[in-house]
């Protein structure tokens, strides 16, 4: 019905680690402007999904399409250059670079070197980073590192931001802050595809979601419908 092409699409993607079959015939579709959540328990293949988008894991079968172009098979660097920025699992900030230098690395693919505006934007979103701009990232608290990882991804001015458990290790208050920030980033025009264990909060801000179970998409739909589904309520929302 909808004629416009999705920003990101998985078409029947299969990935393996050696002989281990991880993603099984997976289909996702993320439209421009959306926040889409990917739910699933440990080992379901959520991080593998993110790595597949980035070309760090290559699908053995199927296609990954970004803005109509097939990206599976491209080197990570090229995929990132096309406008995809990751907030990786475990933050992965550069521990011995300062906060500011970490942000600069996030802007690496930018052709224009006029990044001050973006640095300011990140500092406005996370004032803590401004206070700590000359501190080594490795000496920051987990929550601060998470802010930095998000800020660093923003520096690329991505069209698509893929986030792998942005609330990992954050206090409830900080989680709330980060989710508010995600909504704000999205309002400013960045599409978001987000892995989350915190299903309730993810579904609150997402427009649609997928549920992954041992490598298969077992459920997908609007956030509203998933929130009401028995499966999600039982497995992820702690409901009865």
């Amino acid at each position: 019905m909808d004629e416009k092409q999705p920003l990101l699409e998985f078409r029947d993607v299969d990935t393996y680690y050696g002989s281990l079959h991880i993603l099984k015939d997976v289909n996702y579709s993320v439209d421009a402007g959306e926040i889409v959540a990917l739910l699933g328990s440990n080992g379901a293949g959520k991080t593998t999904t993110m790595k597949t988008i980035l070309g760090l894991v290559r699908p053995r079968d199927g296609r990954v399409i970004f803005e109509g172009k097939e990206i599976n098979g491209l080197p990570t660097r090229q995929i990132v250059e096309m406008g995809i920025a990751p907030v990786p699992e475990g933050r992965r900030v550069f521990p011995k670079l300062t906060v500011l230098d970490n942000l600069k690395m996030g802007a690496w693919t930018r052709k224009d070197r006029d990044i001050q505006k973006d640095v300011d934007r990140v500092y406005t979103l996370f004032p803590r980073l401004a206070e700590r701009k000359n501190q080594l990232a490795g000496t920051m608290s987990g929550g601060e590192q998470q802010m930095l990882a998000i800020g660093r991804a923003l520096m690329a001015r991505p069209r698509l931001m893929i986030m792998d458990e942005p609330s990992m290790g954050l206090s409830p208050i900080l989680t709330e802050r980060v989710f508010d920030t995600i909504v704000e980033i999205n309002k400013q025009g960045t599409t978001i595809f987000m892995v989350e264990q915190n299903a309730y909060m993810a579904l609150e801000i997402a427009s649609r979601a997928y549920v992954l179970q041992t490598g298969e998409v077992v459920l997908s739909g609007t956030a509203q419908s998933l929130m009401e589904s028995d499966l999600v309520r039982r497995a992820y929302l702690g409901g009865s």
Binding site: E81, R92, K96
Partner: protein, 310 residues
């Protein structure tokens, strides 16, 4: 005392320059590049014909201008060729093994070292070769009645300039920061869109080019070279890198200077009755330092133990 220090600094800055190549490569791909010392020897040998052409050896007085131009050009040529050799080694020998178990590239590095050493042996023979005389040695009075030669000034000045340049590059430029980013987390660096292969090539280029430029000032200072010169020097330089904290650039500089000064001091212990007894003690003292450091500060003087895994 001051003289020992000056001689130590002049020798130590050479170790430091070579140590930088070991430490940069280790920092970025966790490989001990055994071939680095041989790249250095290659640098000494390619400088010889350049200097022969540019500096009139038969002149009783070489004009300072001729010395300066000759040395400068030889350093550039040597740095360039060593840089290319270093990049080629990485591309052909190490890159295909990037994801292999760690023993594989290590053994390969030893193999590459042997190949270059034997090639140099074929080219230059097994004996010591005199390095062209490049300048008239002049002694200047220095603090406390000591003297310093223009060669020592040249060696120290060139080495210090290269170290400052490298330090600024690595810490102040975006490419230098990207290099450190790759060293700290290669996959995350790739996720930033950094071309990891190119950064690793650049690391080999810089490390090898420094060795090449250092090789010229080595020739000027030591004046005799053989096909295995870089092997011995490389061993001490590598020790310097470990003493300073392998992977740490300022550590390599510190370690190099330290070992140079200690060797210069050992050199002078033997004066008097047993004059000249110093040389045989070099290895003993240098490796004793290594052992002490490994026992009491395993991460090296400036290294940190903390794992960086989040």
């Amino acid at each position: 005392m001051v003289e020992i220090l000056i001689a130590g600094l002049a020798l130590g800055s050479l170790y430091a320059i070579v140590a930088l190549g070991y430490t940069m490569v280790y920092g970025i791909i966790e490989l001990i590049n055994f071939a680095h010392g041989d790249v250095f020897t290659f640098g000494v040998f390619v400088a010889i014909p350049v200097l022969d052409r540019l500096i009139n050896q038969s002149a009783i007085n070489i004009s300072p201008l001729q010395s300066l131009i000759g040395i400068g050009v030889a350093m550039i040529v040597s740095a360039l060729l060593c840089g290319i050799l270093g990049v080629a080694i990485e591309r052909l020998a190490y890159r295909p093994l990037r994801n292999a178990p760690r023993l594989a590239p290590l053994i390969t590095a030893i193999g590459v070292s042997l190949i270059i050493e034997n090639a140099l042996f074929q080219w230059q023979g097994g004996g010591l070769i005199g390095f062209p005389s490049t300048l008239n040695v002049v002694q200047y009075p220095f603090l406390g009645g000591a003297t310093i030669t223009n060669v020592q000034i040249l060696v120290i000045a060139v080495a210090v300039l290269m170290m400052i340049g490298l330090d600024l590059f690595v810490n102040r430029t975006n490419v230098g920061k990207a290099m450190r980013a790759v060293a700290q987390d290669r996959e995350a660096a790739a996720m930033m869109g950094i071309n990891v292969d190119r950064i690793i090539s650049l690391t080999f280029l810089i490390g090898s080019a420094l060795a090449g430029a250092g090789a010229v000032i080595y020739g000027i200072e030591i004046s005799e070279v053989g096909y295995d010169t870089g092997f011995t020097l490389g061993l001490f330089a590598f020790t310097a890198a470990v003493v300073g904290g392998i992977g740490n650039i300022r550590g390599a500089m510190l370690g190099g200077i330290l070992i140079g000064v200690v060797i210069s001091w050992v050199d002078n212990l033997g004066s008097g009755a047993s004059a000249g007894a110093g040389t045989e003690w070099y290895d003993v003292v240098v490796f004793a330092i290594l052992v002490l450091i490994l026992v009491f500060r395993p991460a090296g003087l400036l290294g940190t133990n903390t794992t960086e895994k989040v």
